[in-house]
């Protein structure tokens, strides 16, 4: 199906199953430990060995000599492979650095080899015995240092710099002007389930159990790195304990497990220890952002400029902080540009809401500052500058932009009217403040396929290589099939994450939910036709409900259709790019914080997100996505930051005790409201994703609330106590 025109009524609109709050269909498996994650397939593989990654302990330089002898002689060791023994063609698709370095070292903790032993403990002990002699090279590890040489650079094939009108002239001529610089810290995806893979070979066929978001791409990439035909590789990733971008591709664990298993002729498991995750894999780089806004005294923006600087390895992408600015606020004169400095830190790449997660922090603080300069309420200023066309591409109209409704609705619910002047509201020792921010994230689409089968027992089986990374894919796919075929969710079996199934959109960029259900929708349309044919009914006029198929006054059971065996159909959602339509998801975040007047500790008191993203397929799992994303926003604003030691070129806080993500006690109260809207223009489900929308803007709303509480404007996140206490009144 090539989707290129708005869709009319469909069976999904019945809303008997889709849109209802179903709890996770695989939930019981997960809470009883029966959902088998990548590292847990040992019962099937009694002969399995354990691999321990040997990391580089310098950030840049060359390995001059390798000494694996002590490791080889260590108890239980079966094999030691260093880069000298390992041949990988190219690198993992989507990644820039090599999965195994050496002799050149590209970053701290880059894998240089693997030790394979009978037990996990033996492998790990021996890995510490592999000795490398390095010639340490001079690397660049500081964004401030690299900034002067940073070049304009686009991210993931996008533009580096875009302009409209004459930004500089309009900014100079502006009645009210604002110009400030902001900083955001580097983040680790810090998912619960570490990178993990088990590889097993049968002849030239590789079976890889792994934890992965995008099966087809990973399969192709594994095949290419191993110089195999794709058909020789099977990937299986039915359950994923979080990915957040870092599992969009094959990582070092996957390729090293495959190479090791081939070498020793037995299955090999490789789990990346927590301490390696931060430096071995990917991160969201630190950013510097300059915002320049000029407006008329009435608040109409005349010029909007957003420039970003970030660092990455050579050939990598910048953290595109300015991407969303192209589409959010109006203004006829525009300048948006990303710059990238070449740094030798671990690779920056797509971490949840890449670009926008931190770009929105700077923009939303700047909007707050500008509103104050103009003497406008921050919500009014945003409303004045809403735009139903894409401000950078005015020929494109948004199909479903309800930002103003989100802001107004949220203001009402949150009690925005009670907000007081900065630094004036107090509750005992707490200084109290409220902040608001716009949420925007593009509504990306990807082609997606699925197969669906009516079994002879009347159950429905769905198969697609789509992944469920904790997001709820199993459930919304079961709901989609249930709605289309007129059965309840408990009669649908969804099977995911297997490369033998039709290729899906995968999980990333918040496109997974809408694209994968759309693919299944198409498959179900085809299956309905086949079922109707079997029942000699008019496919255009059948209704599926309650396990029955009806046409006119003829009623059949689904079972009647499978008397001669199961009925199966495949389908694929695809779409034509539009020159006139812009797709986005929108929302508004409201936050109330307390700042301890003595210690400067910032504690979030309550949060509200009002989101507009088309049809909400399942309000429970969608809410779960949004509150998780809001929690990420709290981390970005208040505690999460990879600390770079510029002498060693590493992220120093490489464990979860030193890299502090929010804990339950940090998140007291979160409300999520979804506008009840449908977008028939993007896909047949009339839906978009929310998993990244929920993160965009949150940090800005928190910073604005801190300002409202204290009267102190901070232009860097995370905001730590030492940033705040110098501005607090002397305690009595």
């Amino acid at each position: 199906m090539k989707f290129d025109a708005p869709i009319g009524d469909t069976p999904i609109d019945n809303g008997r199953v889709v849109g209802r709050p179903h709890s996770r269909v695989e939930g019981p498996l997960k809470v009883t430990g029966r959902a088998t994650y990548a590292a847990e397939w040992h019962e099937d593989l009694p002969a399995m060995l354990y691999g321990a990654i040997v990391p580089a302990t310098i950030a840049k330089g060359t390995v001059k000599a390798v000494d694996p002898q002590a490791a080889r002689q260590s108890p239980g060791v079966v094999e030691v492979l260093t880069f000298e023994d390992i041949d990988i063609h190219g690198t993992s698709s989507g990644r820039t650095v090599k999965m195994v370095g050496g002799p050149e070292v590209q970053h701290y903790h880059q894998a240089l080899g693997i030790v394979i032993a009978e037990t996990f403990e033996q492998a790990r002990a021996a890995a510490a015995l592999v000795h490398f002699e390095y010639e340490v090279g001079a690397g660049s590890f500081s964004l401030d240092g690299g900034r002067a040489d940073a070049k304009v650079c686009g991210a993931y094939g996008g533009p580096g710099e875009t302009r409209l009108g004459d930004f500089e002239a309009a900014f100079e001529a502006g009645e009210v002007r604002f110009d400030a610089e902001y900083r955001t810290g580097a983040h680790s995806p810090a998912m619960i389930e570490p990178f993990a893979s088990i590889a097993q070979w049968q002849g030239d066929d590789l079976m890889l159990w792994t934890s992965n978001q995008m099966i087809a791409g990973t399969r192709g990439s594994m095949a290419s790195m191993l110089r195999l035909d794709e058909e020789r590789v099977r990937i299986f990733s039915p359950y994923v304990g979080g990915g957040f971008g870092a599992k969009l591709w094959a990582n070092a664990d996957a390729i090293l497990a495959a190479i090791a298993a081939k070498k020793v002729g037995r299955p090999v498991k490789v789990v990346m220890p927590r301490g390696l995750i931060f430096n071995n894999t990917i991160n969201r780089p630190e950013t510097i952002q300059r915002l320049r806004i000029a407006a008329r005294a009435d608040g109409t923006i005349e010029a909007f400029g957003h420039e970003g600087w970030s660092g990455n390895v050579k050939g990598g992408n910048p953290e595109s902080t300015v991407m969303a600015s192209r589409s959010v606020y109006a203004g006829p004169n525009r300048l948006m540009a990303d710059h990238m400095a070449h740094l030798d830190l671990p690779e920056g790449n797509a971490v949840r809401a890449p670009g926008d997660a931190v770009g929105s922090i700077a923009v939303e603080i700047a909007m707050d500052e500008m509103a104050e300069k103009l003497g406008l309420d921050p919500i009014e200023f945003r409303v004045i500058n809403d735009s139903q066309v894409d401000p950078s591409k005015p020929e494109k109209t948004f199909t479903n932009r309800h930002l103003v409704r989100c802001l107004r609705d949220g203001a009402e619910r949150f009690g925005w009217g009670d907000r007081m002047a900065p630094g004036t509201r107090r509750d005992g020792k707490w200084l109290i403040g409220m902040g608001v921010a716009t949420a925007y994230r593009a509504a990306l689409r990807h082609a997606s396929g699925a197969a669906v089968r009516l079994e002879t027992n009347g159950r429905i089986t769905v198969e697609t290589d789509m992944t469920d990374i904790g997001t709820g894919s199993y459930t919304i796919l079961a709901q989609t099939a249930g709605e289309m075929l007129g059965v309840s969710v408990d009669r649908v079996d969804v099977r995911l994450g297997d490369s033998r199934f039709p290729v899906s959109a995968g999980s990333g960029g918040q496109w997974g939910a809408s694209s994968s259900t759309s693919g299944l929708y198409v498959a179900c349309v085809n299956l309905r036709r086949s079922i109707a044919e079997r029942l000699s009914m008019d496919a255009e006029r059948v209704e599926f409900e309650g396990g029955e198929v009806r046409s006119g006054n003829r009623v059949c059971s689904l079972l009647d259709a499978v008397a001669g065996g199961p009925v199966e159909a495949e389908g694929k959602f695809d779409f034509a790019q539009s020159d006139t339509k812009a797709f986005g998801t929108f929302g508004a975040h409201f936050v109330e914080v307390g700042v301890d007047a003595y210690t400067g500790e910032v504690r979030v008191r309550r949060m509200l997100a009002v989101c507009s993203a088309g049809r909400i397929l399942n309000p429970v799992s969608a809410r779960s996505q949004v509150i998780g994303a809001m929690t990420w926003g709290v981390g970005a604003a208040l505690s999460e930051k990879l600390e770079v030691d510029e002498r060693y070129g590493c992220f120093l806080n490489h464990d979860l005790a030193l890299y502090e993500v929010p804990v339950h006690a940090d998140i007291p109260h979160q409300d999520v409201v979804f506008l009840d809207d449908l977008d028939p223009h993007g896909n047949p489900m009339k839906a978009h994703g929310v998993g990244e929308l929920g993160l965009c803007g949150v940090g800005g709303a928190i910073a604005n609330a801190v300002y409202n509480a204290t009267g102190t404007r901070l232009r860097k996140v995370p905001m730590m106590v030492e940033d705040i206490i110098p501005h607090l009144p002397e305690p009595v």
């Binding site: 600390e643 804990v663 030492e722 607090l728 305690p731």
Partner: protein, 317 residues
Amino acid sequence: MKTFTYDRVTSAEEALANGAGASFVAGGTNLLDHMKLQIVTPERLVDINRAGMDAIETTADGGLRIGALVRNSDLAADARVIAGYPVLARAILAGASGQIRNRATTAGNLMQRTRCPYFYDTALACNKRAPGSGCSAQDGHSRTLAVIGTSDLCLCQNPGDMAVALRVLDAVVEVAGPSGKTRTIPIAQFHQLPGDTLPIAEFALDPGELITAVTLPPPPGGAHFYRKVRDRSSYAFALVSVAAVIHGDGTGRIALGGVAPRPWASEAADAAISKGARAIADALFEGARPQEDNAFKIDLATRTIAAVLAEAKEART
């Protein structure tokens, strides 16, 4: 983790008889982490979890004797502790997580080691972990580290909460040596400052010595406070913490956590309690050597002391 031998003992005597060249393991919540990362690589472990020493007893003078193996959760929940030494219960509950406190023991908690990031990465120089390799923190990241009591060899902070409360309670650590000889160490002397010689001694324990108990004098009375400042609301180490016992007449005891290699207190600071936060902090931080990254801790500690004094004042009125 390197291969090691493991013995389980059922009494303090047996532990001591087997203790030569071994590491005692209690809750294991600190030691095992370090073994996995090869920060320490003991060849022998002696498991003392079944060696008794797990009772809390009232002493003849009305104090408490807390066995070395009493779990942090049990200690914080003991009615005598809650009634007579609330600062101790609060300090324990401000630390770690429920699961960890269920495992962690009184002795193990006292002996927990620094959370300096350089101590935790075996590829980087650290005098505490690898004597003579240097101290990467000196011109590196020191935000969480000590501002006083440090030396050119080491900037480590003591990260514990419980010990800060024990400091204002004048606890005494009971130890037994391999020969069976016992002695006591006042809490003020238990944690050592790094000084100028290597290796850095962290604890006033001799090789093979076992902590058997911690004793508390009779309850001090007064109002008790434990205020911990951290980057998130729970499950984080203190940037700064304040333990205080303040009496109705405005006198009292005060100690700081997170700022030094040991719970930080002084008689001069206690004497200054009635003069307010600034005077107390001036006394406590006399001779401080903060780094650029962690100088804020002095101001933060001063403000946190002020918060505690304000609370104490409120409690009196």
